[in-house]
Amino acid sequence: TIGMIVIDAEGHVVAGTSTNGARNKIPGRVGDSPIPGSGAYADSTVGAAAATGDGDIMMRFMPSLLAVEGLRRGLNPTQAGETALARIAVHYPNFVGGIVVASSDGQYGAACHGMEEFPYSVAEGSKETEVVVKKVKC
């Protein structure tokens, strides 16, 4: 899955996902990616989040919505992501997942669980730029 957040210079926030889902799934199964609040969520007044991982588990907790609500409560993006995934880990300590979170003013962060590290890609600023791959330890 790719989960992406885009924020333009005026602070217009959008988020989305695209995926072919889990390998060997039972036909008809859909994961978290196309579910609002689960695979991604955006609110231009605060920011956005996009998640990836075991969609059968993650979709039970709406982690992207939780992260955006964390931003609304004043958490920074990393804290918001960590808080959203921690909610899942209480019930499923072995789940695999990652989340990227950005506030509408351009701060960003990531969190993950069940992997050694989680890479994510960032391009920022008003000039043509190179993409930076960052990693967060889980």
């Binding site: 217009h12 959008v14 988020a15 989305g16 996902t17 960003y108 920022e124």
Partner: protein, 193 residues
């Protein structure tokens, strides 16, 4: 703000990030354009086999696609799920957002919608996805997502039927004992939602 515009995405799918950012900065497009363009790069490049056609075959060997776009200013959403036979999932999701009052279309009906919007119907199976599926079949359909069924999903490809309450009682099982693992098998960098 120096940080804006900003594009950030899961995993090291840098061509998608770059495309979306260029679309914003050079193309001066709106962020939805940039998002669709960025995600579409991954659909074409089949990022890690986890996005786009020819990856993650289901038990029948078929690849289906899911995509969603959310506009955080209007709170409008367009999404497709389990869409068959159309490669451009993000672009179809955009049509759901822009050309319908709905939020999510699924399955064969999502395909029919896509065709109506001008997309081509074509198989999403590739030689690689067929090979992955055949390896899985040859490995007795392991791993899989079944539980509490007979024959045992750890040894058999089915067809399955649910274990009856009588069988559970007679064998002194509890439903928790039957749930050997709450998680899907082998989620990792190359297998994820």
């Amino acid at each position: 703000d120096q940080a804006l515009p900003l594009v950030i995405n899961t995993w090291a799918f840098t061509n998608s990030t770059l495309r979306a950012h260029q679309w914003l900065v050079v193309g001066e497009s709106d962020p939805i354009d940039a998002l669709v363009e960025g995600c579409s790069v991954c659909e074409r490049e089949q990022c890690d086999g986890t996005v786009g056609y020819g990856g993650s075959p289901d038990e029948n060997g078929e690849t289906t696609l899911d995509a969603m776009i959310m506009d955080g200013s209007t709170m409008n959403i367009g999404a497709v799920a389990a869409m068959r036979d159309v490669k451009h999932a993000s672009a179809v999701a955009r049509h759901v957002l822009e050309n319908t009052k709905h939020t999510l279309l699924v399955g064969e009906r999502a395909t029919e919608f896509a065709v109506q919007m001008g997309f081509k119907r074509e198989s999403l199976q590739t030689d690689r996805s067929k090979e992955m599926w055949e390896q899985w079949k040859n490995n007795h359909c392991q791993p899989n997502f079944w539980q509490n069924v007979i024959p045992s999903p750890s040894m058999s490809c089915g067809p399955y039927e649910p274990i009856s309450d009588n069988a559970i009682t007679q064998n002194h099982w509890t439903s928790n004992e039957l749930n050997e693992d709450d998680h899907g098998p082998n989620f990792n960098r190359f297998n994820h939602d």
